[in-house]
Symmetry: C2
Subunit: 517 residues, 2 copies
């Protein structure tokens, strides 16, 4: 039976004295991490938590966050990480949905926790993971660890529930993705891409640990004995200091983070030569940024991953050897690579029939990594899980060599004058303009065309571009009907906790500012 | 959920037209193999087989054998491969234990099947997979495939039973090892050692497909898109002809097979330069043989695997980069490498406490590959599965670098004059004598010493050695009490179907020939 706790038990036995997790200057060995997780299980049992209970977590990244993804599993208690950027209005439905027995919060979330506990009657215990004095009405996390016996045997695994992760909620009510031990285990095991287990890799985790991209990395890196340096959140300076101090070998970046790093005024002060591997996700990086990164970090391998919460992490990967800036293979840089070796991936039309290579359709996948379903949402589950196939909602195509290309979220497709326009394609054209730093393309309602293409950009420092210039630039790369009709220039574009562009927020701001033409 | 059929469905979708399985000159693509397995599921349903039924198989290797490890799984029917070297007396208890609804046999096993069906009342149907006319009372395998609808959806997986494999039965009643989808899946997935999926590897399977070492390879090589060439059984000439004809890249050999290959009179006639990788198992090869192989196949990587039926295949592996014939690392050649990355491995004393490096104890393992248990044997199961730890019965130790060394089967340990003697250690010393081709060391009852060390050897062609010379030779390498007291020279030593030395048979023959001294 596949048991997530066993991943940690194994590494703690094989490499007991190797660095496991570092947070705020404190490093714990794998043996220490295991011991604390087993103590956490015992402490939670003392608090009355039992098999099937949910434990909600509202906290910035910390070593405790990592422990909270392991310890509860020994008891059959399910961690439910929540997005700390969300408001009370957004969090309340999640708590009502998962009915946690306890809520863990850090210092920044004490006040909201007091409000939430009044609204959510299932919460019996508030646990505090912050520094300093323990607020009234809260139990100290470290006291919980000291309060119980260490539990070492975990009878749970396989298809048992191991986490509920609420999806970004870009549209409609947030959905609680139910992931099993087996789901997360197989995703972790796939990362034998790291090849040699126990060769001294280290990685910085700075993405928020309420998001699958960071959660799955916990298990991946435990599996592979990769020393994890956890930062409370992404900060370019903090990241560079840590790379230098701990001789870090690996990073996980998204385009926005990579640019913040390279553009940082103190970038050149740091020795980042220990880096060997940079993972990036969410979306392909513009080739210009890849080129900058390759120049900045010669000899570093770049790995691109495309994934989904419902897929327990990774769906497809583009490895270092596919990062060619020139020649026929350069087009693969725009792809999200090939499916993980345990995933069946198909591109289907709206009847569910597979389409030919190079034809756009919906990406659907099947495999042991596909979620159990959405909590309390049988209809939503049935919509996306059909005969074992998860329907990603992403539009894409495969080329003759089976590389997968994303064109857009199905629902983000712009239809203008009856033509389908994939915003990614337009964004790629805009990105090629040297003055553009960030860009998002949305469809805005229009009486004549149905929708028109509206581009929102931010600028590189010291550079500028006019609406006319940018539209003329786009005409060089894409068909006229795809080119933006309107341009807005903002200081910065809003990002989600995972660093993805928040298109819904951009859309809302645009719609609030302007009436349809 | 981890489903073995999905392994085949994936490869058939990704690489539909690549060669999947070749047998007797006929190659089927992955797409063909999948179609036949799905047809087999439909045909078995027509015959009345249903979820939970067992399907016994008594046949030499064939492409049908491979299909029989997939097709039944769509129905929840469990394949039970049986050892065709066994007599009616040995087979009957297995059939009584697993109560199969049907029995599949090849031409060589038609007569014994007629007897078995009279003894085993559960068998409703006999299926014939041989060539030529279908014997009376048998259903033709190909007709079964044509008789039903293709079944494509498999609702089974995870901890559901996927195979029952009877262990060699070297001592006591043969035990039915129950393996789940998840067990065999995780073992297959570990072989991401092959790195790039779909790079044109091919492998010859000549070991008997009733043994876990061949069964697990079916799933491994399907997973990795490795073209499998199935031989009815091991034959050095047949093997060399196939390597040359199909430009085979990989082999699975045991020491005995490797020697038969290199010593074959027509060895030099064949072009075997396509070989890239040679896997060997069962036991470490003598360094002299590794050296011969390395000279014969320059540039070929050697991989050693140690495993068990109860572990669904592999426990530990020694990769190519650890095959050093000289220097400090050369001692690793005597090891069985390091545990697979999902396995916890410990060496424990008779109280179950872990022992220090270099101290001999029993090898115990824990992980998602560990069997569900022995069928109908709760007491035997409880003996070897304790708190999730499988007790292998193998004695061994770990060095400071975590390489694992086997010293002997616990039960094969010789106790002479109160000293524990591990026969492997004695065998290793004997093997170093140039005249020795095969060797086995057993303990023979002795009035004075309890047991004495008795060596049985066969000789290299044209060479010879006397008892005195061999004992003197051993004294150079091992302590006096470990040296053989008696030597028998036979033309050849008996091998099991898997090519392992049959120590019980050797012991029986020795005891029949001679009284204890």
């Amino acid at each position: 039976m596949m048991k997530l706790p066993q991943i940690l038990q194994r590494v703690a036995h094989e490499f007991p004295n190797r660095a496991g997790i570092t947070f705020e200057g404190k490093t714990r060995t794998w043996s220490d991490v295991l011991q604390r997780c087993e103590q956490l299980a015992g402490g939670l049992r003392e608090l009355g938590l039992k098999e099937g209970d949910r434990l909600a977590i509202l906290s910035h990244n910390s070593s405790a966050m990592a422990e909270l993804f392991y310890g509860p599993l020994w008891l059959g208690v399910v961690p439910v990480p929540l997005n700390w950027r969300w408001t009370k209005v957004e969090l309340t439905p999640c708590l009502g949905d998962c009915e946690p027995a306890a809520l863990v919060v850090d210092a920044e979330n004490v006040e909201i926790a007091r409000e939430l506990v009044r609204l959510c009657s299932s919460i019996q215990t508030l646990i505090y993971v912050g520094d300093g004095d323990v607020p009234n009405g809260f139990v100290d996390y470290e006291a919980v660890l000291r309060s119980g016996e260490r539990i070492s045997d975990c009878p749970f695994g396989g298809d048992d529930l191991a986490a509920i992760v609420y999806t970004g909620g870009t549209t409609g009510r947030s959905k609680g993705v139910m992931l099993s031990h087996s789901n997360l285990y197989v995703n972790a095991m796939n990362h034998l891409e790291f090849d040699a287990v126990g060769v001294g890799y280290s990685i910085i985790l700075s993405g928020p640990m309420f998001h699958i991209s960071a959660i799955c990395r916990l298990y991946i890196h435990t599996f592979m004995d990769v020393h994890m340096l956890i930062l409370p959140q992404f900060d370019a300076l903090d990241l560079m200091e840590n790379v230098q101090k701990y001789q870090v070998t690996s990073l996980i970046l998204i385009s926005a983070m990579a640019a913040l790093l390279l553009d940082h005024p103190r970038y050149s002060e740091f020795d980042l030569s220990s880096l060997r591997k940079i993972n990036y996700g969410a979306a392909p990086m513009p080739p210009s940024l890849i080129k900058r990164l390759q120049n900045a970090f010669p000899g570093v391998g770049f790995f691109h991953g495309y994934g989904a919460t419902e897929a327990s992490g990774v769906i497809s990967t583009l490895p270092a050897q596919d990062h060619h800036l020139e020649g026929a293979a350069a087009k693969r840089l725009r792809s999200v690579g090939k499916p993980a070796p345990y995933i069946e991936l198909r591109i289907v039309d709206d009847k569910g029939e597979e389409v030919a290579p190079d034809v756009v359709g919906e990406i659907v996948i099947r495999g042991p990594n596909v979620m159990l379903g959405y909590r309390n949402m049988p209809e939503e589950t049935a919509k996306v899980l059909r005969k074992g196939w998860y329907h990603t909602g992403d539009a894409g195509y495969r080329d003759e060599d089976n590389y997968v290309y994303l064109v857009d979220r199905m629902k983000d497709m712009i239809i203008s004058g009856g033509e389908n326009i994939y915003s990614v394609e337009v964004e790629r054209a805009i990105d090629l303009h040297p003055a553009v730093r960030q860009c998002a393309v949305i469809g805005r309602p229009d009486e004549k065309w149905g929708e028109v293409v509206h581009a929102v950009i931010s600028l590189e420092p010291g550079l500028t571009v006019t609406e006319e210039e940018l539209i003329a630039h786009c005409h060089e790369y894409i068909a006229g009907y795809k080119c933006p009709k309107v341009l807005s220039i903002w200081d910065a574009l809003p990002l989600s906790g995972a660093g993805k562009l928040q298109k819904n927020e951009i859309r809302d701001r645009i719609n609030a500012q302007e009436k349809p033409r």
